[in-house]
């Protein structure tokens, strides 16, 4: 039986898709079976970030509508064999996804995988509430910036009212993933600090992902950042977060880029 996790934020562009891919890959790299599901109907991007954009034949809506079987739509990752992708539809409109269809798909995925990770669309409308509806826990992706924190607060309210867990009167587990964090600017007092965001949102911290050039580089390459450069700071942050999801207790640190003497001297970034 899987844990169903929704990666959500309210605000767009804070790193939901990056985090879905990176956490999914990090979990799969530990040998667990993982399905990452793109709920952003009409604006799919998880396939692109994972480098599987040319392999999408069927998508979530096809499976939800019963047009094809789940196995026909799941795309196996070329690098980690325990990771699968279920893409969103690029052509259909967002109302094409039915709640009953989502319930069936999540139910089937739950039987086959250790982890099911749902990449939520931005916003607070139907797409976002469908992505969180059947989740067991939520990762709220937040940037240390006022509009992102405000929208996260709103999403936390939705998680406590619109999910099946909440409807049953159970407590929905919500974890904060702080992304694009800049230790230097926060230290100067020019960026909200970790404590500020934690105090305002009052949910437990899953991890801190530092601002890094490696994230853009990973999406350019079509690989989760944990695979494109496993020793980079964001990759280590995501791997630690994945291990915390699995129940390991790992000291909370903000990974920083390790620079060896040579790269310090020449200051250059080597090409891949």
């Amino acid at each position: 039986m899987a844990e169903v996790l929704v990666v959500t934020s309210g605000k767009g562009g804070v790193g939901k898709t990056t985090s879905t891919a990176a956490l999914g890959a990090a979990l799969a790299q530990t040998g667990r079976t993982v399905a990452v599901v793109d709920f952003d109907v009409g604006l799919r991007n998880l396939d692109l970030v994972m480098g599987a954009e040319r392999r999408v034949v069927y998508d979530l809506i096809n499976v939800a509508n019963g047009d094809v079987r789940l196995q026909q739509a799941l795309i196996r990752d070329k690098r980690i064999e325990t990771m699968y992708l279920l893409a969103a539809s690029q052509t259909r409109d967002k109302d094409a996804l039915s709640e009953e269809g989502v319930r069936r798909v999540i139910g089937e995925l739950r039987d086959r995988f250790d982890w099911v990770i749902c990449d939520s669309p931005a916003g607070i409308e139907r797409g976002a509430t469908l992505a969180m509806r059947y989740a067991d826990l939520a990762v709220v992706v937040t940037n240390p910036e006022v509009s992102s924190v405000r929208d996260s607060d709103r999403i936390i309210g939705l998680l406590d009212s619109k999910t099946i867990k909440a409807a049953r009167g159970e407590r929905m587990e919500k974890l904060l993933l702080l992304t694009r964090y800049d230790k230097v600017r926060a230290g100067r007092g020019d960026m909200l600090g970790i404590e500020d965001v934690l105090e305002i949102l009052s949910i437990p911290l899953l991890g801190i992902v530092p601002e890094s050039e490696e994230v853009l580089r990973a999406s350019n390459l079509g690989a989760p950042v944990t695979m494109s450069n496993p020793t980079s700071a964001p990759a280590r942050a995501y791997m630690d977060a994945a291990r915390r999801l699995c129940g390991e207790s790992i000291a909370m640190t903000i990974p920083s880029e390790r620079q060896n003497l040579l790269s310090k001297l020449f200051g250059g970034r080597r090409a891949a």
Binding site: V146, R150, R188, G189, D190, L192, G193, D196, I200
Partner: protein, 96 residues
């Protein structure tokens, strides 16, 4: 001049934090708890307004979620001069 500007520039994060805290207190009241807090706030305001002149934005109703219990906090700010019952002969408006 540049160094002076750099040194005198106020740190912006504390301001961000303060603005968020004020904003979210109100937004949580307006949107959270499936409207319960909004309803409570309206009704509490109506009851108080029957007896004391109070500005609507000075009534703050919120729920602090604890592990086992939630605490309902009602914070009403009234001007000192207004902290007396309104005379029954007054009609609407503020007491002069």
């Amino acid at each position: 001049m540049k160094i002076f500007e750099l040194l005198s520039r106020r740190r912006s994060a504390p301001l961000a934090r303060e603005r968020l805290q004020i904003l979210l207190t109100h937004e949580r009241g307006a949107t959270g708890q499936s409207g319960l807090i909004a309803v409570l706030r309206e009704e509490i305001l109506a009851v108080i307004a029957r007896h004391v002149d109070v500005a609507p934005e000075k009534v703050d109703v919120r729920v602090q979620d604890g592990d086992e219990l939630a605490v309902l906090e009602i914070d009403v700010e009234i001007p000192r001069a207004m902290a007396r019952p309104r005379s029954p002969w007054e009609r609407g408006g503020r007491a002069a």
